[in-house]
C-alpha cells in the first residue's frame, strides 16, 4: 500500500514531467498542415533569449547549423559582398576594450581573430588531419599565401636559433629545453642532423615547420582544450552512435514513423488506424500487444511490457517516469533528455502538437495529452532498443543497464585525443600566418599556452561564423540605410492629383510591381498593407467545400463570410454544382478504382493507354494542356457573377448558420476606417482605388501554399480585398466614416482584386457594380496593369536560370506563365526569397528607389498619427512578428536547408494529407525547400520605420512580442525621422545616430537599365533622373 507521502511525491514527479514536456513542446516546429503554410520563426520558442545566445545553443539542441559554412562566407568576402572593413568593425564592436590585449605576447587579440577569419584554417577531423600531416607537404612548405618576407624571416630566425643552441651544447650546456630535445628526436629520421651546417633553404624550411608543429603539439597537450567533449550527447542513442556507429533510432523510427503517419492521417488510407478513438497510447498498446515480432528481436519484450503496464494501470506519464528511471537519467537532466527525445522525430512530434493545440486547422485533430502519450511510446521503444543493444555487447556484460549512459560517457570522454591535434594544427597554421618563430613558441610558459589555447576555444568555428554573419548583415544594413538616408534627404515624391491609387500587400514581391506601376504612370499612387486588409475571416467561395482562415496565423478569426452566386443565376449555379459533383464523384471512383485490384485491372487495361494523352500533353505541351483544361473547367465553374455575403444583422452572433454569416454595419465601419487610417489614405482620394490581394498558382507542388499570401495563412488574399472594397463602397459606411472625420468623395469607387504573383495575372471582383462613369478609368487601369505585368515578369526572369537574359518583356510574361503551368517545374516563383528589409513609412519618401524585390513595404503616415502613436503600435503589432517570421524561416532554411528547411523537393512524398516526407519513410519535413531558398541571402530583417525613437521604445515596452523580437535582436531596427533624413539605429537597447557612409546613390534611367543582363543580387539605386524628383 502506498502512503499518502509517496502518492504525493509521485504526483509531484508526474506534474514535473508533464511540465517539462510542455516546455519542450515550444521548441518543436510550429508548422501546421502544409496546405496552410505558416511562416513562423523555426526558433520561435527561443525568442525570449538574445539572438546570439540562442544560436550558440541550437547546434547542440537541434543538430542544425546556425550559420553558413565558413567557406561560403569567405566566398562572399572574395566577391566583395563582405568587406574586410566590415570584419574589422564587427570585431571592434565585439571585443571593445579587450581588442588590444596581448595574447601570450605573440599578437593582440584583434590581430589573432582577424587573421583567423581571413585565412581558411584547416581544422579537419582526426583522420583528415593525420592524412594531411603524413601525406601532404604541410610540414615541408609554408602555406602558399605567406609572404616572402615572413617566410624568410622565420627561416633565418630558426636557423640562427638552432645553430646557437647547438653551439651551446657543443660547449657543454644547451639543449636543456625538453621541448627542443623531443623535437630533435622526432626529426632525426627525416633530416640529416649531422650535416646541419650544409643544409639548404628547403631543409631549413622543413626544419622550421617541423619545430612549429612539434612545439604546438607539445604546448597544446599541457592545456585541456575541450572541457566536455560529450556535452551534446544526451540520449542513449547519441552515445551508442558515437561509440559503436550503431543507430538504435533506426529501429525505433521504423515503427514510430508509420504509426504517427497512421495516427495523423486526415483520410488518405482506406483502413483507418484501429482504436484511434481511444487515444495514442491505448491504440499503440492494443496494436503491439499482439502480433508477431519476427525480424525485430529488439521488441520481443514489448508485448509483455505493454501487458504489464496495462495490468498495473500506469498512466502515460508514469510510463515516462519509469522509463527515465530505467534508463538511468538523473532528475536534473530530465528536461534535456525529454527535449532531445521529442526532437528526435521533431516533424511528427511537432505535427502531433499542432493537431492537439490547433484542432481548428485540421479535419481530424488529436485529443489533449497526445504529445505526452507520444513521448511515453517513444521512451518505451528507446528503452527497449538501448536495452537490446546493451545485451548484444559482450564487453558491456558487467555494466548495469541504468549505468550504461554514464559508462559510455566516461569512455568517450577519455578517447578525446583528436582535439589536441586539431588545436595544435590551428596554432601551427597561425604561427606561419602571423610569423611566430619556433623560438617564441618554445619560450611560452604553460600559463601562456593555456591562454592561447583558451583564445582558440573561445573563437571557435561558431564564433568565427557569427562574426562573418554580422559583418555581412552590417554590409546589407549599410546599403539599406545609406540608400534610405540619401533618398529621404531629397524631396518627397507623390502625385498631387493621383489618377489611380493601388493598395498592395506588404509582401517583398510587390516592391517591383509597385515600382513599375509608378514608373509607367507617374500619376499613380501606391500603398502597402498587410495582405488581409484588416478583414480577418473564415471564407468559403461559391465552389468551395470548406471555410479557410484568411488572416495571419496568429489571429483566430471571429467571423464567417461566404460567396453567393447572384439570385438570377442560381438555377445555372445549381445545375453546375450538380455537374461538378457528378464529375467529382466519377473521378473519385476512378482514382480509388485504379488503386484496387479488379477495378484497377479493368481500368488500366481499357483506359490506361488513354493516359498517354494527358501524360504527353501535360509534359511536352504544358500550356496547350492548361488552356484545354481551363476551357473544359469553364463549363462547370460557378457562374461569374457572385457577391460576398458580408452583412449580418446586429442581434445575431457570428457563426456558420445562414443568419450568422458576415459582419454588422458597426464592425464593417471599424474595419474600413482602420484599414484606411493605417496606411494614411485619408485625403486626396483618386476616382479609382484598387485593393490588390495576392496569391499564386503552380502545378504539382505540395508547397503551393507557401507562395500564397503569408498574411492570409497561406491562402490567396483576393476575398479580403474584395470584402474591404465592398464595405467602402457602401454608402452607409461612408456616411458613418464621414461623421468620424474621414470623408470619401462621392465619385471615388473601390475595387478589390487579386494579383497572381506567378503568372502576373490580375483579376478584379464585382466589376458589374462599377458605375458607368468609371468604366473609362478602369479600362485605362487595366491597360496599365498589362504593361506592368510584362515589365514585372521581365524583372523576375533575371533570377530564373532557365530564362534567357535577352528575353523581351512579352516573352518574359509567357515564360513566367509557362512556369506556372508546368508539371515538372519546382520553382514556379521565388516567393519572398532575398527579403532583407522592411520599410514602414510614407511611400513618397522612398518612391523611385530600386530595392531589388528585397523589401517589405508598409505604408504609414507618421504625420497623421496621434501623440501616443496608436496607429503605429497596432501596425507594428502585426507587421513585426509577421515579417520577422517570414524572414527567419527563409534565413534559417537557407542556412541549413536539410536541417531547418525540408531539403530538396525532388524526393518529397506527401503523407497523411498533412505534410511531406523524404522518400519512402522519414521524419515529417516542415520548413522551406531548397528550390524556394537557393537564391536567398541569409540576413536578419532590417526594419526601417518612419517614426521617433521614443515612440518605438514605448511600443517595445507595451507590446511584449514586438519587444521580445527587437530587444533580443531577432530583427534589426532603425528609425527614420519623419521630418529630416536622420536615421537612428537600435543597438544594445538604445537608439544611436547613424552616419551614412556613401554620399551618393547610383542612378539609372529605368529599372530595366539597372538590372539588364544581370542575374545576381543587385545594389540599390535611384530610378529616374533627379529632376523627376521635383515633380511634387
Amino acid at each position: 500500500m502506498e502512503t499518502p507521502e509517496q502518492a504525493n511525491a509521485a504526483a509531484r514527479k508526474s506534474a514535473e514531467i508533464e511540465n517539462h514536456i510542455l516546455c519542450a513542446a515550444e521548441m518543436l516546429p510550429s508548422q501546421g498542415p502544409i496546405s496552410a503554410f505558416a511562416f513562423l520563426n523555426p526558433l520561435q520558442g527561443m525568442e525570449d533569449t538574445p539572438f546570439d545566445d540562442a544560436l550558440r545553443t541550437v547546434r547542440d539542441i537541434y543538430g542544425c547549423e546556425p550559420y553558413l559554412e565558413e567557406s561560403r562566407y569567405r566566398a562572399k568576402v572574395d566577391r566583395g559582398r563582405i568587406l574586410v572593413d566590415d570584419l574589422r568593425e564587427v570585431l571592434a564592436a565585439d571585443l571593445g576594450d579587450t581588442a588590444e590585449e596581448s595574447i601570450a605576447r605573440l599578437c593582440t587579440r584583434r590581430e589573432l581573430r582577424l587573421n583567423m577569419l581571413l585565412h581558411p584554417l584547416n581544422s579537419g577531423d582526426e583522420h583528415e588531419l593525420s592524412w594531411v600531416i603524413a601525406e601532404s607537404d604541410a610540414l615541408q612548405r609554408f602555406r602558399t599565401e605567406i609572404s616572402h618576407e615572413t617566410r624568410e624571416t622565420l627561416i633565418t630566425e630558426t636557423k640562427n636559433w638552432i645553430l646557437d643552441e647547438l653551439r651551446q651544447r657543443a660547449a657543454g650546456g644547451g639543449l636543456e629545453n625538453q621541448r627542443i630535445q623531443t623535437a630533435f628526436e622526432e626529426l632525426a629520421d627525416i633530416l640529416p642532423l649531422r650535416s646541419i651546417e650544409r643544409w639548404n633553404g628547403a631543409q631549413w624550411e622543413q626544419m622550421c615547420l617541423h619545430l612549429l608543429w612539434s612545439f604546438a603539439r607539445q604546448g597544446v597537450e599541457t592545456t585541456a582544450p575541450c572541457p566536455d567533449p560529450t556535452a551534446s550527447l544526451i540520449r542513449h542513442r547519441d552515445l551508442i552512435w558515437k561509440a559503436y556507429h550503431s543507430d538504435p533510432d533506426q529501429w525505433v523510427n521504423d515503427i514510430l514513423v508509420s504509426f504517427c503517419a497512421a495516427w495523423l492521417d486526415q483520410g488518405y488510407a482506406h483502413w483507418k488506424l484501429p482504436n484511434r478513438e481511444q487515444g495514442f497510447w491505448n491504440s499503440f498498446s492494443a496494436l503491439y500487444t499482439h502480433g508477431s515480432t519476427v525480424g525485430k528481436p529488439w521488441i520481443r519484450t514489448l508485448n509483455g511490457e505493454l501487458e504489464r503496464i496495462r495490468t498495473q494501470g500506469l498512466s502515460p506519464t508514469e510510463v515516462i517516469t519509469e522509463s527515465l528511471d530505467a534508463l538511468g537519467v538523473p532528475a536534473d537532466e530530465h528536461f534535456r533528455y525529454l527535449r532531445s527525445t521529442m526532437l528526435a522525430l521533431r516533424g511528427w512530434a511537432g505535427m502531433i502538437w499542432q493537431t492537439e493545440t490547433r484542432a481548428d486547422r485540421v479535419y481530424i485533430g488529436s485529443p489533449s495529452g497526445t504529445l505526452i502519450e507520444f513521448v511515453a511510446v517513444r521512451l518505451l521503444l528507446d528503452r527497449l532498443a538501448a536495452n537490446y543493444f546493451h545485451t548484444g555487447q559482450p564487453e558491456l556484460r558487467d555494466v548495469a543497464f541504468a549505468d550504461l549512459r554514464s559508462v559510455l560517457k566516461t569512455a568517450l570522454d577519455q578517447q578525446c585525443r583528436a582535439c589536441i591535434d586539431q588545436h595544435a594544427y590551428i596554432v601551427f597554421q597561425l604561427a606561419q600566418i602571423l610569423g611566430w618563430s619556433p623560438q617564441s613558441l618554445a619560450q611560452l610558459t604553460a600559463e601562456q599556452w593555456k591562454l592561447l589555447s583558451g583564445e582558440l576555444v573561445q573563437f571557435n568555428s561558431h564564433e568565427q561564423r557569427r562574426v562573418f554573419h554580422l559583418a555581412f548583415e552590417r554590409r546589407m544594413a549599410q546599403q539599406a540605410l545609406d540608400t534610405i538616408a540619401f533618398r529621404a534627404s531629397r524631396e518627397r515624391l507623390a502625385p498631387s492629383k493621383p489618377q489611380l491609387q493601388v493598395v498592395c500587400c506588404i509582401d517583398a514581391r510587390e516592391e517591383s510591381f509597385r515600382r513599375h506601376l509608378e514608373e509607367v504612370a507617374p500619376d499613380v499612387e501606391t500603398f502597402g498593407t498587410a495582405g488581409f486588409f484588416g478583414v480577418p475571416m473564415y471564407y468559403r467561395g461559391a465552389a468551395d467545400a470548406h471555410y479557410a482562415a484568411l488572416c495571419p496565423i496568429v489571429i483566430k478569426p471571429q467571423h464567417w463570410v461566404v460567396e453567393d452566386v447572384v439570385y438570377s443565376l442560381e438555377d445555372s449555379h445549381r445545375a453546375r454544382t450538380k455537374a461538378r459533383r457528378v464529375i467529382g464523384a466519377a473521378s473519385h471512383s476512378f482514382h480509388v478504382g485504379t488503386r484496387s485490384s479488379i477495378g484497377g485491372a479493368l481500368l488500366s487495361t481499357v483506359l490506361g493507354p488513354l493516359a498517354t494523352a494527358p501524360l504527353v500533353s501535360r509534359i511536352l505541351f504544358p500550356q496547350l494542356a492548361a488552356r484545354m483544361h481551363k476551357t473544359a473547367r469553364q463549363f462547370v465553374a460557378p457562374p461569374a457573377v457572385t457577391r460576398l455575403r458580408l452583412e449580418r444583422s446586429e442581434n445575431e452572433t457570428p457563426g456558420t448558420d445562414e443568419d450568422q454569416i458576415g459582419f454588422t454595419l458597426a464592425e464593417m465601419c471599424t474595419m474600413a476606417e482602420r484599414a484606411l487610417r493605417d496606411i494614411g489614405l485619408t485625403h486626396s482620394f483618386a476616382r479609382l482605388v484598387i485593393f490588390l490581394g495576392h496569391g499564386s498558382s503552380c502545378m504539382n507542388n505540395p508547397h503551393e501554399s507557401a507562395y500564397h499570401c503569408g498574411a492570409c495563412s497561406g491562402s490567396p488574399g483576393g476575398p479580403n480585398a474584395r470584402a474591404l472594397a465592398a464595405m467602402l463602397n457602401d454608402v452607409r459606411v461612408r456616411r458613418i466614416l464621414k461623421e468620424r472625420g474621414l470623408s470619401i468623395p462621392e465619385e471615388t469607387h473601390f475595387i478589390g482584386g487579386l494579383h497572381n504573383t506567378a503568372t502576373e495575372e490580375i483579376t478584379f471582383y464585382d466589376l458589374e457594380l462599377l458605375p458607368t462613369n468609371q468604366v473609362r478609368s478602369l479600362r485605362l487601369a487595366r491597360e496599365l496593369f498589362s504593361r506592368v505585368a510584362e515589365r514585372n515578369a521581365h524583372e523576375r526572369c533575371r533570377r530564373f536560370e532557365s530564362a534567357r537574359l535577352d528575353l523581351n518583356p512579352s516573352e518574359a510574361l509567357r515564360h513566367v506563365q509557362n512556369r506556372a503551368e508546368d508539371l515538372a517545374q519546382t520553382r514556379p516563383e521565388y516567393g519572398n526569397s532575398t527579403n532583407a528589409m522592411c520599410f514602414v513609412g510614407r511611400r513618397s519618401r522612398i518612391r523611385g528607389l530600386f530595392l531589388d524585390r528585397r523589401s517589405f513595404m508598409m505604408s504609414y503616415d507618421a504625420t497623421q498619427d496621434d501623440q501616443n502613436s496608436t496607429i503605429l503600435a497596432r501596425i507594428l503589432g502585426a507587421v513585426i512578428p509577421v515579417c520577422e517570421g517570414i524572414n527567419m524561416l527563409y534565413t534559417l532554411s537557407a542556412i541549413d536547408t536539410p536541417g531547418w528547411g525540408c531539403g530538396t523537393k525532388l524526393p518529397h512524398n506527401v503523407t497523411s494529407l498533412l505534410g511531406v516526407m523524404d522518400g519512402a519513410a522519414s521524419d515529417l519535413r516542415p520548413g522551406l525547400p531548397l528550390q524556394g531558398v537557393d537564391i536567398h541571402e541569409p540576413v536578419r530583417l532590417m526594419f526601417v520605420i518612419e517614426s521617433t525613437p521614443d515612440a518605438l521604445l514605448k511600443i517595445m515596452s507595451d507590446n511584449p512580442v514586438v519587444g521580445r523580437i527587437c530587444k533580443n535582436g531577432w530583427a534589426q531596427l532603425a528609425v527614420l525621422d519623419p521630418q529630416t533624413a536622420r536615421i537612428q539605429v537600435f543597438r544594445n537597447g538604445r537608439f544611436e545616430a547613424y552616419q551614412p557612409k556613401e554620399p551618393e546613390l547610383p542612378q539609372a534611367e529605368s529599372s530595366l537599365d539597372w538590372y539588364r543582363g544581370k542575374r545576381d543580387h543587385l545594389g540599390f539605386a535611384q530610378i529616374g533622373s533627379p529632376s523627376g524628383l521635383s515633380e511634387c
Binding site: 508509420s258 484501429p274 525480424g295 525485430k296 543493444f389 487495361t605 518529397h908 519512402a920
Partner: protein
C-alpha cells in the same frame, strides 16, 4: 534497311550512354541544356526507327525480324556461344515503343524537375543506363542478351534509389533493392545456364521452337520446363516484387519523383512479367509450373491489396497499387492470356507513370475533389469494417502495416543466418591467422547483431 533500323533502335540509347559516361569519365561537364537535347534526340531517333519497323511489320505481315550483330564470345571446342541477337516481334516491338515513349516523357520531365540539382548529370547517366537496359531486355533474342539488359536495369535502379546518397535511408534502401535483385539474378543465371545445358545455346528459338511469339512451342520436356521455369519465376518475382520480395518496392521510392515513376511504377516492375511472357511456351509445357505462377500471382494480389489499404503516403500507396496490377498480370500470363497481359502492361504502365508524376499534386487534387463533392471525402467501406472482432481487425491492420512481415522474415531467416555464417568465417579466419602469426589481429568495431546492420557505413538519422 530493316536491319539498319533495328540497329538504330539499339544504338541510339547505347550512344547516349557512351556520351554521358565518357564525358563524366573525362571530367567534361556538359551543359544541362545539351544533356536534355541529347536525351531527346536519342529517344526520338529510337522511337522513330521502332515505329518504322512496326509499320513494315503491319504492312508486310512479317511477324519476326531478327537482327544479329554476331557472337560476342564463341568457344568452338566447348560448343559455347554468347550470341548477341535482337528480335523484333509482337512482344518486343510494343515493349520497345512503350519504353521509348515513357523514357522520352520522363526525360523531358526530369530535365526541368532536376534543374540546378547537383545530381543532374548523375541522374541522366543512370537514366541512359536504364534506357539501354530496357531496350536490350525487350529486344533480346537470346537469354544472354536478356541477362545483359536485365543487369543494366537492376544496376541503374539500385543507383537511382540511392540517388540522395548523403542521407542514410536512400543508401540503405538502395542496398536492399540491390540485394533483392541479386537473388533474382542468381536464379536467372542458373536458369540461363541450365537452358544452355539443355539446348546447347541460349536462343529463345532453340528453346521455344521456331514459331514467332506467341505461337512458339517449347522443345523441352515438361520436367525441364518446370525446373527452368521455376528458376525464371524466381527471377521474375525478384524483379517484379512478387512475394516474398515485395518489401523492396515501396522502399524504392527514395529517388527523385520521375525516376520512381518510370522505374518502379512503370517499366522496371513489369520486367519480370515480360520475362514470363517471353518464355511463355515453357509455361504451356508444364501444368505444375502454370499453377505455381498463378498461385504466386494470386497470393501477391491478396497481399498487395491488403497492404495498399493502410498506406498513408501517396508514393507507397501507388507502389502497392502497381504491385496489385503486376501480380494480376502474372496471373493472366499463368492463365495463358498473353495478349491481354501485354495490353494490360502497356495500359498500366502509362496510367501509373502519370499518377506517380502527379503524386506531388495529391493535396491539390484532394482539395479539388472535396470542393466538387462539397464535403470531406467519404470513408472507404472496406474489408476491415466487415471483419468481426476487434482482435481480428487489429491483426489484419498490423499485418498490412508491417507489409505482411515479409521483409522481417527475410531478415530473420535469410539475412541473419547469411551474415552469421560470414561472421563465423571471419572469426575462424582470424583465429587461424592469429595462430599462424602468433599475434592478435585487430578486429573492426564489433558489428551489432540487428538486421538493419547490413549497411554499417551509413550515418545517423
Amino acid at each position: 534497311m530493316l536491319t539498319a533500323c533495328g540497329m538504330i533502335v539499339v544504338l541510339s540509347p547505347a550512344l547516349l550512354l557512351a556520351v554521358f559516361g565518357l564525358s563524366a569519365l573525362a571530367g567534361i561537364r556538359l551543359s544541362e541544356r545539351l544533356v536534355a537535347k541529347l536525351t531527346e534526340a536519342s529517344v526520338v531517333l529510337g522511337l522513330f526507327a521502332a515505329i518504322l519497323i512496326l509499320g513494315v511489320m503491319l504492312i508486310t505481315d512479317r511477324r519476326f525480324i531478327p537482327v544479329e550483330p554476331g557472337d560476342w564470345v564463341s568457344i568452338e571446342d566447348e560448343h559455347f556461344h554468347f550470341t548477341i541477337k535482337f528480335v523484333f516481334d509482337r512482344l518486343s516491338v510494343p515493349f520497345v515503343i512503350l519504353t521509348f515513349v515513357l523514357c522520352g516523357v520522363i526525360g523531358a520531365f526530369a530535365s526541368r524537375y532536376l534543374h540546378r540539382d547537383e545530381g543532374y548529370h548523375r541522374f541522366f547517366l543512370f537514366y541512359a543506363i536504364f534506357q539501354l537496359g530496357m531496350i536490350l531486355s525487350s529486344l533480346a533474342g537470346t537469354i544472354e542478351t536478356l541477362f545483359l539488359g536485365w543487369e543494366l536495369v537492376g544496376l541503374s535502379s539500385a543507383l537511382l534509389v540511392a540517388f540522395f546518397h548523403t542521407r542514410p535511408n536512400p543508401v540503405r534502401n538502395g542496398l536492399r533493392v540491390w540485394s533483392a535483385y541479386r537473388i533474382a539474378d542468381a536464379a536467372f543465371l542458373v536458369g540461363a545456364l541450365t537452358l544452355h545445358h539443355m539446348t546447347g545455346a541460349g536462343d529463345f528459338e532453340g528453346l521455344m521452337g521456331s514459331g514467332p511469339w506467341p505461337e512458339g512451342r517449347a522443345s523441352v520436356t515438361d520436367q525441364q520446363a518446370l525446373y527452368v521455369g521455376l528458376l525464371l519465376l524466381g527471377a521474375a518475382a525478384g524483379k517484379s516484387a512478387l512475394i516474398p520480395f515485395s518489401g523492396w518496392l515501396p522502399r524504392a521510392m527514395e529517388g527523385p519523383t520521375p525516376s520512381s515513376a518510370v522505374f518502379y511504377g512503370a517499366l522496371s516492375v513489369h520486367l519480370g512479367a515480360f520475362l514470363l511472357l517471353r518464355v511463355s511456351p515453357l509455361l504451356e509445357a508444364s501444368l505444375p509450373l502454370r499453377v505455381t505462377v498463378i498461385a504466386l500471382g494470386l497470393a501477391t494480389v491478396v497481399f498487395a491489396t491488403m497492404t495498399a489499404r493502410v498506406q498513408t503516403d501517396v508514393k507507397s500507396a501507388l507502389a502497392f497499387a502497381s504491385l496489385i496490377q503486376v501480380s494480376i498480370i502474372v496471373v493472366e500470363i499463368g492463365l495463358g492470356f498473353r495478349y491481354i497481359a501485354l495490353s494490360h502492361i502497356i495500359g498500366h504502365a502509362c496510367l501509373r507513370t502519370l499518377q506517380l508524376l502527379r503524386a506531388p499534386s495529391l493535396l491539390k487534387d484532394h482539395h479539388a475533389l472535396e470542393n466538387a463533392l462539397g464535403q470531406h471525402l467519404p470513408d472507404q467501406r472496406g474489408l476491415l469494417r466487415r471483419l468481426s472482432g476487434d482482435k481480428l481487425r487489429i491483426s489484419a491492420w498490423r499485418f498490412a502495416s508491417e507489409r505482411g512481415y515479409l521483409d522481417a522474415m527475410l531478415d530473420a531467416y535469410l539475412v541473419r543466418p547469411f551474415i552469421a555464417v560470414f561472421m563465423w568465417s571471419d572469426r575462424m579466419e582470424r583465429r587461424w591467422t592469429d595462430f599462424l602469426t602468433g599475434q592478435t589481429s585487430t578486429s573492426a568495431p564489433a558489428p551489432a547483431p540487428a538486421p538493419s546492420q547490413q549497411t554499417p557505413n551509413t550515418n545517423g538519422q
